[in-house]
Amino acid sequence: MMKSLIAVSGVALLFMSHAAHASYVGGNPLTSVDPTGTNQLVIAGGQATGSYNIFGHVANAVTGNGVFSYGNDTNLGSGVQAYIQSQMALRNQVITFIPTSPAQDQQVLAFYALHPGRNSVGLADNCAARTNLALNAGGVPTQDIPFPGGLSGDVGNLPGAQQFYVPQGGPIPPALMNLLPGFEPQH
């Protein structure tokens, strides 16, 4: 409970912290791409302009399978770059690149196949809880923090993880831009 509270209060801090490093380029993520070509992105957004939802939103993208964003009427498995650009107009984002194996990605996708309703989340089973569960299904360990900011900070500490800050209005950092084509849906 305390961890959750800390996570909530840390949402603003997290996004401010990343804002201070908008020119983030240290640790070129291109050098840490899984040689099998499979990876995940956790796309966390802060509070949208004028929104009552102070917690923000979080989604997940899987190599070659697009973005899985529950609760904001986004087609599951849709284009990643289009999603990030669309959200970029609304809020600041922190995007975490996580190296995974093909088997892990398949397990994550199997989890999403069991949850086909793109808006099928609520207060408890929210976007962050759903993303946590998907990552856990793929064997990616998280602390199950049910808030976007907390989850983003959590996965940023995973081995090999790389984080990128995308400010409201852009731009998308070039190093992240280079990674996005690999996450676009191939089907």
Partner: protein, 114 residues
């Protein structure tokens, strides 16, 4: 005696206010969800308003995007969106009805994580 009642009253308020909030939020959500379920593709704007009431916000494909709802912009075939937010929801729950250029419903969504 008065000193014993004080903590009870404060405790009661501490319990009652969140209880009132969650009950109110749940009632608003339930009422809107019930009306929303009656909508059908092809309904006219007047029918939508007859079922859901007047929208709190309108968004058009030509006007500015309403960032607070967190969804993608209204683009063709969407010509207009009617928004019905649950003002009691901390998570920003809202119901969205999209109309085409002829004013008929082409898409509806219950947005739960804007």
């Amino acid at each position: 005696m008065a000193t014993r009642k004080g903590p009870l009253i404060v405790g009661g308020i501490i319990v009652f206010i969140p209880l009132l909030y969650f009950t109110s939020c749940g009632v608003v959500s339930s009422q809107k969800a019930k009306a929303f379920d009656q909508l059908q593709m092809g309904d006219t704007e007047q029918q939508v308003i007859g079922i859901m009431g007047k929208p709190e916000d309108r968004e058009t494909s030509e006007g500015s995007r309403l960032a607070k709802y967190g969804v993608a912009a209204c683009a063709a075939p969407c010509a207009q969106r009617l928004w019905y937010p649950n003002g009691m929801s901390l998570a920003g729950e809202a119901w969205m009805v999209e109309l085409d250029a002829s004013g008929h419903v082409i898409h509806t969504a219950h947005v739960t994580s804007p």
